[in-house]
């Protein structure tokens, strides 16, 4: 537990040292979200129809932006190898790093989404479901993003491939998340997709760190 | 006979499905064979290189 807190605190401190970079995914999100209405010139109801999908896709794309900071920075200056050598189990260390990354990158992002939803004419009443769906999707998303980062940590130009690896895996999140939001917009019960998101989150958080730790270890061999 | 090809109007669907699948199978068979032949060829070259007697490296005396 102590190791978890130590790594978490350290990662948060490192992240905030370069706090201007934290804003990049958020700005990217806003830009992407603005580009769609520009390109589509939708009517008010069309905006609502595409809005849910656009928001989710934009959030997924934006979450990829900061993933380099997850492992590569530490890998470059050797501190990742130090973490490997430390007595704390790598799985815990990985969990701490992923948590830090989530708090710093993903949480601000998913706070932005409901705000942007208003600009897409999504009814106010649907926002809680949207927020809940995003919240439930976040752990899975973190794990998938971290897995992509870990698998490519030893690649010099891993950036271009990571999207190819991670985005298809986020497909189910997209399907269930947009389903939940759409149902909520239409006033229908949303329990099913939300529960599925929760199940995915449980699966991801329990098994993900194992795979991520293995990938980091192999990557640094 | 023409009935067979047109498949009661569904010809395009049935034949494209069967056709693409057949093409993919043929392609895969060809690719697998080509890879094996290329690998064997490379191995043959490596084996030939090894057989060429290596010249003893001349020892340069430092003047």
């Amino acid at each position: 537990m102590g190791a978890f807190k130590a790594v978490l605190a350290r990662d948060l401190r490192v992240a905030f040292r370069r706090w201007s970079e934290l804003g990049h995914p958020l700005i990217f999100f806003v830009i992407v979200v603005t580009l769609f209405p520009l390109a589509l010139s939708p009517t008010a109801s069309q905006l609502r129809d595409v809005g849910v999908g656009v928001l989710w896709v934009a959030a997924l794309l934006s979450s990829l932006l900061a993933l380099d900071g997850l492992f590569r920075g530490d890998a470059d200056d050797g501190s990742l190898e130090q973490l490997l050598l430390s007595p704390a189990p790598l799985t815990i260390t990985v969990l701490a790093k992923v948590t830090a990354h989530t708090l710093v990158t993903l949480v601000p992002l998913i706070c932005l989404v409901p705000l942007s939803a208003l600009s897409f004419n999504i009814p106010f009443a649907a926002l809680p479901t949207l927020a809940l769906a995003l919240l439930l999707a976040t752990p899975t998303l973190s794990v998938l993003v971290a897995l992509g980062a870990a698998l490519t940590v030893s690649l010099r130009r891993g950036g271009s491939i990571v999207g190819l690896l991670v985005l298809p895996l986020t497909g189910p999140l997209l399907i269930f998340g947009t389903r939940a939001t759409d149902l909520s917009v239409n006033g229908e019960p949303t329990a099913a997709p939300l529960l599925l998101l929760a199940a995915l989150a449980a699966l991801a958080v329990s098994l993900g760190p194992l795979a991520i730790a293995a990938a980091v270890k192999v990557g640094l061999e | 006979m023409s009935e067979f090809f047109s498949m009661n109007g569904h010809g395009a669907y049935v034949w494209s499905a069967y056709g693409i699948t057949l093409a993919v199978l043929i392609l895969n068979a060809w690719l697998a064979r080509a890879k094996l032949l290329a690998a064997l060829q490379r191995a043959r070259e490596l084996a030939n290189q090894a057989e060429v007697p290596r010249k003893q490296p001349t020892v340069r005396r430092l003047q």
């Binding site: 690896l165 192999v218 | 569904h10 499905a17 064979r33 490379r42 191995a43």
Partner: protein, 250 residues
């Protein structure tokens, strides 16, 4: 635990190569024969469906290619996992060999599915249909595996990193399979394994099963051929390879 002899033998590249050499003609010959028989049966002899008409003939290739694609992924994931845990290079070779074949079969499944969907359901593609979406995900997983492989310079590292990706992705296979039972979808639930026996008449069942066998044999034939190439490449200038090419084996 004393492992059976064949387990050790399977870890030896020359043994596997020679075994493949002996098996391939049979697998390939029988596979192609069954493809011809099943294909002919499905196109000519089998009756058209009273609802779908002639396009029901795609029944003899679409489920089969989909199933083989999924089997290929499982083969790939199991082989990669075995290679990762027991550090067996030959297992990694199997995984690498299975990937492109699985990708192609999955592509066929998606293509034949789309082409079948148009006359049957009125649409080539249905976004949100769970089985279609997860089958597409399977194709992306194959492609991601191959792309990630290619990004590494060292083969050993490529093997082990992609093994993790392969094993993580295997979760998708049961999801594709059970998606029709868990969600409402355009796809129907299993016709073959439903209670009370297959829900298909015999004159359709026979080519249906023949094509399953045909595609399976063909897959393993293709797999073994690719495996042979992979083994030769990995073994480089090993003594047995030199003897092999000296024999003029090809």
């Amino acid at each position: 635990m004393k492992l059976p002899r064949w387990f050790h033998q399977l870890g030896s590249p020359p043994y596997v190569y020679r075994l493949a050499e002996r098996l391939c003609p049979w697998l390939g010959g029988l596979g192609i024969l069954l493809l011809a028989v099943g294909g002919f049966w499905g196109l000519v002899i089998a009756p058209p469906d009273y609802q779908q008409g002639e396009s029901a003939r795609i029944l003899y290739i679409h489920p089969q290619t989909a199933y083989i694609g999924m089997m290929a992924y499982v083969v790939m994931a199991v082989a990669a996992g075995v290679g990762y845990v027991w550090r067996l290079k030959i297992a990694h070779a199997v995984a690498v060999s299975a990937a492109p074949i699985g990708a192609w079969f999955t592509f066929c499944a998606l293509f034949t599915g789309a082409v079948w969907g148009r006359p049957t359901w009125g649409t080539y593609w249905q976004w949100g249909d769970p089985r279609i979406m997860f089958e597409a995900l399977l194709l992306f997983l194959f492609l991601g595996y191959l792309a990630l492989r290619g990004a590494f310079d060292e083969r050993d590292k490529a093997d082990r990193v992609t093994a993790i990706l392969a094993v993580v992705g295997v979760v998708n296979v049961p999801i594709v399979h059970y998606s029709v039972e868990w969600w409402n979808s355009l796809h129907q639930t299993s016709t073959l394994l439903s209670e009370g026996g297959p829900a298909m008449t015999t004159d359709m069942l026979i080519p249906f099963l023949i094509m399953f066998a045909a595609f399976t044999l063909t897959f393993y034939w293709l797999l073994l051929r690719r495996l042979q190439a992979e083994i030769v490449e990995r073994e480089g200038d090993a003594r047995w390879i030199r003897e092999l090419v000296a024999e003029g084996a090809r």
